[in-house]
């Protein structure tokens, strides 16, 4: 259910910010904005689907092999 909040929020924020920068022809900024939007969507989806089982801290512990 939370995914129905995440997707519209990210889309609205990206569209609201991308319109003025495309008008100013700042295409590099627009590309970075879309990339950050995609990262937010991807991480938001991961968080929503793994809310009770995984955390970033656990991932870091696994990466560095310490607990």
């Amino acid at each position: 259910m939370k995914i129905f909040v995440l997707v519209p929020v990210v889309i609205i924020v990206v569209i609201a910010d991308i319109i003025p920068i495309i008008r100013k022809k700042q295409h590099k900024e627009a590309a970075v904005l879309i990339m950050l939007g995609a990262v937010t969507l991807a991480y938001g989806y991961y968080y929503i689907t793994h809310e009770h089982t995984a955390s970033l801290v656990n991932l870091m512990f696994d990466i560095f092999g310490s607990r």
Binding site: A16, D17, I18, E29, V32, L56, N58
Partner: protein, 372 residues
Amino acid sequence: MKTGKDKISVKQLFFVFTIMISSPTTRLLPKYAAAKAEQAGWVSPIVSTVPFILLLLVIDSLLKKYKGQSMSDIISSIIGKFLGKLVLVVYLLWALWLTAMYSRYYTERLTSSIYVNIDINVFIILALIPIAYILRSGFTPIARMSEILLPFIGAMLIMLALFLFPKVRADNLLPVYFNDIVPIFKGSISITGVLSYLFLMFFLSDKIVNLKSLRKFGYIASCVNISSIMVVNFIVIGVLGSSLARRVYMPVLTVVKQISIMDIIENIEAVVVAIWIFADFTLIATLLVIVLNLIKSIFNLSDTKPLINILAVLVYYLSLGISAGRFELEDFTNKLLMPINLTLGYGFPFVLFALSTLKKKKQPKKAVNPSR
């Protein structure tokens, strides 16, 4: 000193830095010092003075050698463009992690102290919306806010010291023997790690004017910060004792709750929590500005304002997903974050300084050949 639009002075930078570290100072440092050095934990901040001043001198010499360049440009000039970008990505991830972590700590602190039954989402959203709004005006409002806020934090510290001094027990703080030297060094690791955020601040060096006075204000800031951390550790360990100080979740708040002056002045923890909120606000906002500046350097952008909102949404999800609870987060801070802080905050700047010195020595040889 007068500063231009979106420019801050070195003095303002150190004001922001002092407020930034006041948040972890009151939450983490007394606990860590009490756990590692027991009754001698209050002495451990003195040890951190040496690496902090060395870091300050390294930053000063780098900025003097590469005049007018930001820290990102300096890194790229010293280690090359490709490696430089790679290092900047590492620093970006570190800054983003710290932003998410301190956002979570901020909400955990509020839900554990006053607002016990409130969902953490509320506090994260209530912090990130005003931060995203203020950052559209640049970093200057944050720096000016810090100038106003710092005297209040200083007054709070002095007030706490005065009110709690009668409750300090000498047997909680003494004896400190030669045997305590190793524990004192261990206890200073967290303080040294937190002070390493100074290097992150210099990713904003393109926004700073009057860098000539860096050393002067740096020495003053090191005296103020080290002495204030020492006072906090002294009061917490002195009042609670090391065994209790290391077990309580928020030792400073526990100590503040004990203040009672002739049964008239009581329950002043609300004032302390209010100041904590402003300190965390400054900390999260500054880290977000650093993240934006790093993104700007990595992708060679002309403007980062359009990225503020989406970054705030990302930080919201990161802060929720960073850990399942505060115990996990504290475990991470004590075991992994400290070495990461030391490596990125001290290790890399010193390597950078060594490389820049080597480069300096090689340059004259190259300059001699063309003239012949």
